[in-house]
Symmetry: C2
Subunit: 323 residues, 2 copies
């Protein structure tokens, strides 16, 4: 299967997922329908449904039964973003105004809860406790990660272990469970589903490390949100942790700037410059590449279908992306 | 079974439920464990687990398998209160400081999500799609109700239908599903589970109407939160709707006071006085009694166990309660 053909098929599948989500969020209450639609139409890479569908295609040619699951995974992600936007008081995401900005935090809070409830119903419809439990436990772990991130905000004395714990819960577990449940819903056995889960996990770690790098170097327009958001919120990411340990004479200055509560654009720029000079960004990119290689190694044990090759290509693309 | 014996057994069962919740919310993260424990220990009537357990006892003598479900139902309720407290910016509930007050709204938001995720895992462990789907769809409906309440706040031109829609979602559906899933987990057939569900639904409607009356007349200390909370938040409840339609010459004055955004204690007192004079409280109490009778009529079709009589007594107590 040529790459362009594979992309085309995935893109068609994802359009079906979006249609399915649109159907699921349609309620009699216009406030709910419109806010949820606005969130859906703001876009996004649809990575979680994409990985669920591609994982499924390793085990079946007919993915029509995958739509509720793929939709649910994206809705869980949408719910988590909506609640994040309340906490960070974010007004813009993916270049568009957030529900928080347009409808206020109360509506945003309930829309997040509504999406989770809807998603769990779609998941339960598989009548497969392995799928339901994998997803409900992931939702719980994601919340624990968010709470841990709140607790560790502005803490400059945390280690790589704490960073890893956070990004596991922030990103890797939902990507892992997307691959695993995509496999299970397509008839994979537990062993194969666990292998594809491990692929998703490693790629999820790589993906979040790249995201944290992009928060420092991406083009604001491409990123869809302001650069330096993590620094402003006191979210200490891998490049910063590396810089703190390796920037030598700049350490005191870096610490002082990181601890400033309302960092102006000049301070943000200066922090990023010190992190760059320390080699923090290169270190993070290198670690992301290593996780991507690990992810690809798991793929080798899975059925030799065209989608396996495509997942390899997507993995490589994900570490090289600029948004 | 004498009433005192029945109360004693229920009280012992509920202590087991509380222990089970305590075990479920214990995590490696002290912030999560402590906040959740604080919420649990603030108390509450544990009505949802109580109804699940009593419904289960109509169909089985061994309720040891009911603990995960009973715990989950209370955790869903706790999650919903935690999110409500963020929206209302409530600092006190059940006479104790809220998570919102002590840890801030960000922690409260994630603790609510965490409790829902944990609850869904407990529910999924039954491997019974009827139970999982009944509960996940209730979570969704509860959110729709909250959103509807936000939309209808300060709207004096809504009807009884809108009020009923809100209290169904705010209270009745979770009580209905507590009874239904309690029955299902205890081996009841679908027909019987639906009958006990209808009992829970009618009693839930009665319970919320009484709650709305108590918000106007209860003793602050007994209620555990300030009186007149609904009036302050612009939540138009049944006694007020009745008063608006029946207070004759006071209507314009009542409307004007209800529309005031920051009502001082004198205004609250005056509104309550007009509502009382209009007969709004009596009307609401009467409707609650009628729903309680309807609830009890459903019980008659269920197995003639001592718990059936006890559920009758509790129903009567619930409409007569003062907190």
């Amino acid at each position: 299967m040529k790459q362009t053909k594979a992309w085309k098929r995935l893109s068609e599948d994802l359009t079906m997922v979006e249609d399915y989500i649109e159907g699921s969020i349609c309620t009699l209450e216009p406030l709910v329908t419109n806010s949820s639609l606005q969130l859906l139409q703001a876009g996004g890479k649809r990575i979680r449904p994409a990985f669920a569908l591609l994982s499924a295609r390793l085990f079946t040619d007919d993915i029509s039964g995958l739509m509720p699951l793929a939709a649910a995974l994206e809705m869980i992600h949408m719910a988590s973003l909506t609640h994040d936007d309340i906490i960070d008081n974010s007004m813009v995401r993916r270049g568009k105004a957030t529900i928080n900005a347009m409808q206020g935090s109360s509506v945003a809070l309930h829309i997040g809860d509504f999406l989770t409830g809807q998603a769990m119903q779609l998941v339960d419809s598989y009548e497969d406790v392995r799928i339901s439990l994998a997803i409900s436990s992931t939702i719980e772990e994601m919340c624990l990660g968010e709470l841990y991130q709140l607790k560790q905000a502005h803490n400059l004395d945390q280690g790589f272990k704490e960073y890893l714990y956070r990004i596991q819960r922030k990103t890797a577990l939902l990507m892992a469970v997307s691959c695993q449940t995509g496999g299970l819903a397509a008839g994979a056995g537990d062993v194969q589903a666990n292998t594809v889960r491990r692929f998703g996990y490693c790629l999820g770690i790589a993906f979040q490390i790249i995201d944290d790098v992009l928060d420092m170097v991406a083009d604001k327009k491409m990123l869809g949100k302001p650069v330096g958001g993590d620094l402003k919120e006191g979210n200490i990411t891998l490049p910063v942790l590396y810089a703190l340990a390796n920037c030598n004479e700049n350490e005191e200055k870096l610490r002082a700037m990181l601890l400033e509560r309302d960092k102006n654009p000049e301070v943000i720029k200066e922090i990023i410059s010190i992190v760059k000079k320390s080699g923090g960004l290169d270190y993070a990119l290198n670690l992301a590449s290593r996780y991507t290689e690990k992810a690809k190694n798991h793929l080798i044990c899975l059925p030799d279908k065209p989608e396996r090759e495509f997942l390899m290509q997507i993995s490589d693309w994900m570490v090289k992306r600029s948004y």
